[in-house]
Structure formats: structure tokens, C-alpha cells
Amino acid sequence: MPIHIIDRRLNPGGKSLENRQRFLRRAKSLVQGAVKKTSQERDIKDVLEGGEVTIPLDGMHEPRFRREGGTRDMVLPGNKKFIEGDYLQRSGQGSAKDSGPGEGDSEDAFRFVLSRDEFVDLFLDDLELPDLAKRKIAQTESEGIQRAGYTMTGSPANISVSRTVKLALARRIALKRPRKDEIEELETAIEACTDEDERAALVARLEALKAKAKRIPFIDPLDIRYRRFETVPKPVAQAVMFCLMDVSGSMSEHMKDLAKRFYMLLYVFLKRRYKHVEIVFIRHTDRAEEVDEQTFFYGPASGGTLVSSALQAMHEIVRERFNPSDWNIYAAQASDGDNSYSDGELTGLLLTEKILPVCQFFAYLEVGEAGGSAFDLSDSSLWSLYERLRNSGAPLSMRKVSERSEIFPVFHDLFQRRDTAQEKAAP
């Protein structure tokens, strides 16, 4: 009888991926809620990690006709002391058996693991990059180099040794070049040989072999191969995200926390679109400095407020390190809205002339104390400045936030799918 043994391990995996997607689609709202809840407890970089979520099984239940209750009979193994007619108390062990081997209610909640991509997809739902990005598409390509086989000509630096030796070996075998040990063998044979005639014959053969070895070189120019490269257009797959924040005395911990959450979302969002995302943290009082994340959020600082200093710093960093033709530049600014009046003009100028032209997207987030009543009074100086700029056509996105729970909706607002670029201008 013939027996077939088949190795299925090489078959493409993920056969049940489709079913999984159907399941996630069906449980979408439940899973999404769980994802948001989980993400609230995480730190900026961990948000991307995916992981386990728990959803209630309610909508996912597969009902069956099941029976329960009534008189039950069962046969069990392991009798130690019972005899016919004994009665067992129902408490404890008895009631444990009541729940029985059936499915019961054991499936109330359902835990499972989401992959990183699934997690982020659900987290960001249907967000889109702002239309602004499209303006840059033509420019988001640069020349890259990639390997493209071998060539007969090229510069010595590009010689492919392995390929060259391989070809040389093939040629030597094909042309029957005498091997070294062959010649050595013959030489020892000559040494050991006593008979003159035979010796002469051997010497003649040795000479012939040596001549042949000389005629057929070890490596012929014909064998040499060079690695070939060709240039290909390469889309820019990197982005830099500038986090600008006012850290003057008027910013409370609560406000910084709001800002952090917003940056977090932006980071996650960019990370999904770009292979490589850099973050630059610029904090400012009346002067600006580039700092690490820890200092940015928690380092103490005091002083007045000059927004233009931060914009100036950003402009310089862009000029030095992030060529706009190689990088997609995103900036998000968080502030409580204070700015010294004398600085307004310079800020506006820097923004419209230097910053906005190189940015894909610039968001301004005005954070307030919990309760948010302060916003009802009047617009802050920075807000009115930005609003004026926006009304005159500058591509700015701006929102006010005072509660943690508002962050996600605001982010959602800023990045949701848009049909026309104009809509973006409306608050």
C-alpha cells in the first residue's frame, strides 16, 4: 500500500487569517472599546505593542439548545467509602459538580491577543493623513541604489570575489588545468625513479604539465565579475515629528499630561505610516532648547514666554538635520496660550515664512485646566494670533482641550478622512 508523506510546514501560514478578520470585524465595536481602555494605561512607545484584550462575549455568543437542571444521574470513578443508600451533602463539592462538565457560563469574557498591526488599526480606526501630505507626494522620492546582478566591467572596488573564483574554477576544470598535487606527485615519482628511460618520460610529462598550467592561468581576466548597481527612485519613508511645548510656570502638570497624550497619538499615527519616525522635543520659556523626552515632560523650568524662540529653534534644527526633501515634517505645539504681546508679530512671521512651508502638518493644541471654564472668557493671545493667520489662509489645525477624555476626539477631528482640503480650514 503506497504511503504518502507530505511536508506541509512550508505551506503559507495564516490560513485562518480571513476568519480572524471576520471575527474582528464582527466584534469591532467591542474590541475597539477594549483597545482604547488598554491604551490609556500605557506609555508613549508601548502603545504600539499590540497585546491582549478582553471583550465581553455577548454579541459573540453562539447559542445552542442546552439543557440544565432536573434530576441528574451520573457514574463516577474513585469510590472510597460510599455504600448504596448513602446521602451526600450538596454543599461544597456537590455544588461544584452542579456546574458540571457542560459549557455553563464559563465564557462570559473572552481574552485574546491582537497583533501590533491589528491593535494600531483599531486604535486609529479610520484616520487619514491630512490632505496636506498630498502636496508633497511628487517630492517624496529620492534616488536609492540597489544591487542588480553582475557585470563584466566595473571598478576594482566592486569585484565580486566569490563569483570570480567560482567562474575561474569552472574554467580551470573545463580546460583540464593540471592541479598542484598532480605536479607534486609527478615530482616525487621522478625523485624515486631509478630507470633512466622512464625518468626521461616522466620529466617530459612534468614539463608538459607545467607548460599547460602556465598557459591556463589561475584567474583569467575573463573570469572577473563586478557587482552591478542601479539607481532606483525610493520613496521617503521617514518622518520627523516636532513636539513644541511651553513649559513656563503657567503650564500645570495636568496641561502637560494632556499635551503628552496628544503627542503620543501623533507618534503612533506617524509610526504606522512611516518606517522611521524621529521625535524632536523642543521646550521653551522665553528661550527654547532641544531636550530629551524625560526633561521635556518632567524637567523643571521657569521664565517668561516667547513662542517665537521655539519656532526659531525648530527652524534651525530643520535646516541642520532634516532636509525637507528627505523628511516628512510634522509639528505639534502645545501651550496654554500665553505669549508676550511683543512676540506676536515675530511668531506670525516665522510661522508663515519658515515653518509652514516645510511642514506636512502643523497642529496647535491649546490646553486648559480641568473644567475648562477659562476658555469661555476670551481667546488667549496665541489663539487669536493663530486664528488670524488661519483666516488669512495659513494651513494650521488648532483645537482647545481641557479634559483627558477630549484628547482622542480632538485627534480624531484633526485627522479624520476629508473629502476636500477646504474643510480642514473650518474649526
Partner: protein, 512 residues
């Protein structure tokens, strides 16, 4: 002494081939097994999880519930809560066994002996499998089902198809013909038939007819109740069959989907009735083959000890007060009874001669076992062959739990002279699917009135349906029937215990 099949734990495909050949030699010559041709496939853990989520079948139509099961299994597997099976075997011809790549050479030998010869012989020879399943056609049929569901999704939308399948799955346990008499399932013909019917529909489709005014419907009030029930084939316990044939407003493709789910349920029906026997047979066969290979010197002592370790784990039966206890282990029970039969046939004692006059001392162990494997299912197998000696060995006892009884749970019988027969009868009943599944049937349809579908649940021993689940399943049923559905729970004296009435949810116009 023959040559070793392998040394240590490593194996490659040549090893597998040698192992299979050696197992086959023992299985066919020494044990006289009769098997389908074998196909052995090596898979990864992920592929094993894939197989888990689609009830072990290599191909299946797409449905979210399989994704749910996959996510569930995967989560518990990753956390280490659940080990994966060493193998999965499919009742098809050729008989496909999936082996996990992680298994050691010894485990592969065990698994090949277990699945490719044990289960395989049982599938091919047991009367239930012969009667209800079509091993030659199943894979083609599943392929057809998969494509058909896919086509339906293209034509009628994923949501619509999902709704129908959800409903069909809810009724799956009541989509089975329990009594033979109908012709055997021929899945190849089934597939062709579906194709022909579609073709016929396309050929005779004429949109004009839709606009022709209908004549006055024939009055059915004249039909007597008896005649009406007879026309509809009532009472009918196969709910899916009834809906497929009689639901008034289902589209043809929906009927076909119900039919597919019904056929698949029917295919698995024998497996649920023969868990103890099936696993017992496979375990007994692997034990015999492994022992024989060891005797022949083809497996080293060390590897044989490894095998004994796994084998002991497989047939471990915790006692009722052990935290690990979750009912009788079908491997343990089946294997024990089959070993006991071997003993009775070869070396009977006086007690055995009294209890098993037909087989005691008959001498031909394999002959008797092959006959048992062919002609019994769990219920009759236990009812017939569980010996007093085994009941003493397992120290079995019978509990009777009547909620009315204040004093507690009564010990009704134990493993003594007075109790043997009662314990055995009760354990057999526990393995009778007829007692496990709720007995629900369609009894009537109010055709002259509001077309309400009436079902009865015959309550046994006061065990009624779980309310939330019952309502949900009935909702699905009503959606398919498209009129009200009533389920009445009646006890043995026809006393009504409870009544459910469910109306269909409004369905989008797509259902013609």
C-alpha cells in the same frame, strides 16, 4: 532482532517512512487491521491551531466563529494553558493524519500507530461511519461547500450569508437524521446535484412569470390535520432538514447553505457517538504496535520508556474528588475495556464466563475485537462489555441527584454484586447521544392561520432548556422560518412546562 527504526529523538522523512512501514507490517499482519490508504502530513503548531479552529478539517468555508475559536485557542496556547494535540486525523479516503513537527521520533511512531492505523481502521470498519459518512467524498464536498459559500457571498453579500450561516450553526445539533433508513450520504452526487439544480434554475428562469397574476390560492382548510402533518413530514426532529424543505420564504441559495451545514453535522454525528470506542481502539492499537516494535528490537528501551510515559498520561483517569477530574477520560475507559476484552478472550475467570459466555475463552483476541469495533457504538459497547472487574478497578458508583430530595445526593449503586448492572446501564446511558441532546421536534404548522411553527421539547427527568440560549436559537429559527415560532416544553405526561414564542426580526428585502 531487527534493525532500529531510529536512535534518539530526531527524525527525518526517511525515518517517518521506515516507521510507517514498520507500523503497517504489525498492523496488517499481527493485528489484521483493514485500513484506508494513508496520507501523513507534517505540520507546524500554527497550522495545528488552524486545523483546531475549523473542526479539524483541512478546508472549510469561512465564518467568523472559526476566527473566534482560533483566537481563543491561540490565546490559551500562548499562555501555556493548553497543549496541542499530537495529531489530528481525518475520516477520509485517503485517511489524512497531521503530525506536529515538534514531536520526537518516539512520539511520531506513537502517533502514526494511533492515528494512521488505529483511528483509520475504526473509520473504515465501524458500522456508524459506514452508514453515515462518505470518506471518499468528504474532502471534495468541503471544497465544494467552501466555494459555494464564497460564491454566495459574492452574489448576495457577506452579511446575508453570515446571517444564514449563524442561524444554521445554532441549529446544527438538531440538523441530524438519527435513524437509518434514508439513503446513505453520497457527497459527490450531492455536489453534482447542486450544480445541476442551479443550472436548471438558470435555464428556466423567466422574469415574465413574475408579472403574471396568481390565481386564487387553494383553500387548505379542508386538509385534515393528519394529512397536513403527513405532507410536511411531521413530526420531524431534523430541524435543518425541515427548514430546508418547508420554510416558505427562503431563497434557493439559503436552502443550499442549510443543506451544507446539515451534511457536515451528519458527517460528525458518528464521531460524537463513538468517542470512547474510537479513542479506545486507537490507543489499544498503538499500544500493541509499540510493544511489538519494542519486542522486535526496533525501538530502544529508552525510547520505549518515553512512549510508556506519554501513554500513561493519555490513559490517566483522575478520581471524582481529584481537582483534575472532568468526567470519564474516553482514552482511559476505552483502552481499559479493550484490554479487558483481550483478557476475557484469552484468560477468562469464572466471573467472566458467567458474564460474557459468548467471548470468554474464545481464544481469537483480534477476531473478537475487530467484531466489537465494527458493530458497536459507545452506548452499546459499554452496556455490553464493561466487566465487573473493571467496575471494581475504577471503583465506579452511581449518584442520583434529585433537586427535590432534601437529604442530598443519593448513592444509588456501587461496584458490588447488587450494583454492577445498574452502574453499567447508567454509564452506558451517559454515553448515549439520544439522552445528551435535547429531544426537540417540529410537530405542527398552522398553515391556515398565521403559519406559526410549533415545536415540542420532550423534557426528560425535568431538565429544561437554558432560557437565554433557547431564546437566541429560536430567534434564529424564526428568522429562517420568517413567521412566528413557538416552542413548548412538555413532560412525559404531556403537561406543558413552559412555552416560548418568538417572532422573526424584520429582514432586509434581499430575501425573496
Amino acid at each position: 532482532m531487527k534493525e532500529r527504526l531510529f536512535e534518539g529523538a530526531d527524525w527525518d522523512f526517511h525515518t517517518l517512512q521506515r516507521i510507517t512501514d514498520a507500523c503497517e507490517e504489525v498492523a496488517l499482519k499481527d493485528l489484521g487491521l483493514d485500513v484506508y490508504p494513508n496520507q501523513i502530513e507534517v505540520i507546524t503548531a500554527e497550522q495545528m491551531l488552524d486545523a483546531y479552529s475549523s473542526v479539524g478539517m483541512p478546508l472549510f468555508y469561512k465564518h467568523w466563529s472559526f476566527g473566534k475559536h482560533f483566537a481563543f485557542h491561540e490565546a490559551s496556547y500562548r499562555k501555556g494553558l493548553m497543549g496541542l494535540a499530537y495529531e489530528i486525523v481525518i475520516n477520509s479516503s485517503p485517511c489524512i493524519s497531521y503530525l506536529m513537527e515538534e514531536n520526537t521520533a518516539t512520539m511520531q511512531t506513537l502517533v502514526i500507530a494511533h492515528a494512521a492505523f488505529g483511528h483509520n481502521h475504526f473509520f473504515k470498519n465501524n458500522y456508524l461511519f459506514k452508514q453515515w459518512t462518505d470518506a471518499d467524498g468528504i474532502l471534495d464536498y468541503l471544497d465544494f461547500a467552501k466555494n459555494y459559500v464564497m460564491q454566495c457571498e459574492d452574489r448576495y453579500g457577506r452579511i446575508e450569508v453570515e446571517r444564514t450561516l449563524d442561524a444554521a450553526h445554532a441549529l446544527m445539533s438538531h440538523g441530524i437524521d438519527r435513524y437509518p433508513g434514508k439513503k446513505k450520504l453520497d457527497l459527490r452526487a450531492e455536489e453534482k446535484r447542486a450544480g445541476r439544480r442551479r443550472q436548471h434554475e438558470e435555464e428556466v428562469f423567466n422574469d415574465l412569470w413574475r408579472t403574471v397574476p396568481k390565481g386564487a390560492a387553494k383553500s387548505r382548510s379542508t386538509l385534515s390535520i393528519e394529512r397536513r402533518r403527513k405532507l410536511l413530514g411531521l413530526p420531524q426532529e431534523n430541524l435543518l432538514y425541515f427548514l430546508e424543505k418547508s420554510a416558505p420564504r427562503l431563497a434557493p441559495w439559503q436552502r443550499e447553505l442549510l443543506r451544507i451545514v446539515r451534511h457536515i453535522a451528519q458527517y460528525f454525528y458518528p464521531q460524537s457517538q463513538t468517542k470512547v470506542m474510537n479513542e479506545g481502539t486507537a490507543t489499544y492499537v498503538h499500544y500493541r504496535i509499540m510493544t511489538r516494535l519494542h519486542e522486535q528490537g526496533r525501538i530502544s528501551d529508552g525510547n520505549f520508556l518515553e512512549f510508556l510515559g506519554s501513554h500513561t498520561n493519555v490513559v490517566f483517569q483522575p478520581e471524582f474528588d481529584d481537582p483534575r477530574f472532568s468526567g470519564f477520560n474516553p482514552y482511559a475507559l476505552g483502552f481499559a475495556v479493550m484490554q479487558d476484552i483481550e483478557r476475557i478472550v484469552a484468560n477468562p475467570e469464572d466471573e467472566d464466563r458467567e458474564w460474557f459466555p459468548d467471548i470468554a475463552g474464545k481464544g481469537d483476541v483480534m477476531g473478537v475485537l475487530r467484531d466489537v469495533w465494527a458493530n458497536y457504538r459507545d452506548e452499546s459497547f459499554i452496556g455490553q462489555f464493561l466487566s465487573p472487574r473493571l467496575m471494581r478497578h475504577f471503583r465506579m458508583f452511581h449518584l442520583h441527584d434529585d433537586p427535590e430530595e432534601r437529604a442530598g445526593i443519593r448513592v444509588d449503586a456501587i461496584h458490588d454484586e447488587r450494583g454492577f448492572r445498574r452502574v453499567r446501564r447508567e454509564l452506558a446511558r451517559q454515553h448515549d447521544v439520544g439522552f445528551i441532546d435535547a429531544n426537540i421536534e417540529v410537530v405542527d404548522v398552522d398553515l391556515s392561520g398565521d403559519r406559526r411553527l410549533i415545536l415540542h421539547h420532550h423534557v426528560i427527568k425535568g431538565s429544561q432548556l437554558n432560557e437565554t440560549d433557547a431564546k437566541r436559537v429560536l430567534q434564529h429559527l424564526a428568522d429562517l422560518w420568517t413567521y412566528d415560532v413557538a416552542l413548548i416544553e412538555v413532560d412525559a405526561n404531556d403537561k406543558v412546562l413552559r412555552e416560548y414564542v418568538v417572532s422573526p426580526r424584520p429582514i432586509p428585502a434581499a430575501v425573496a
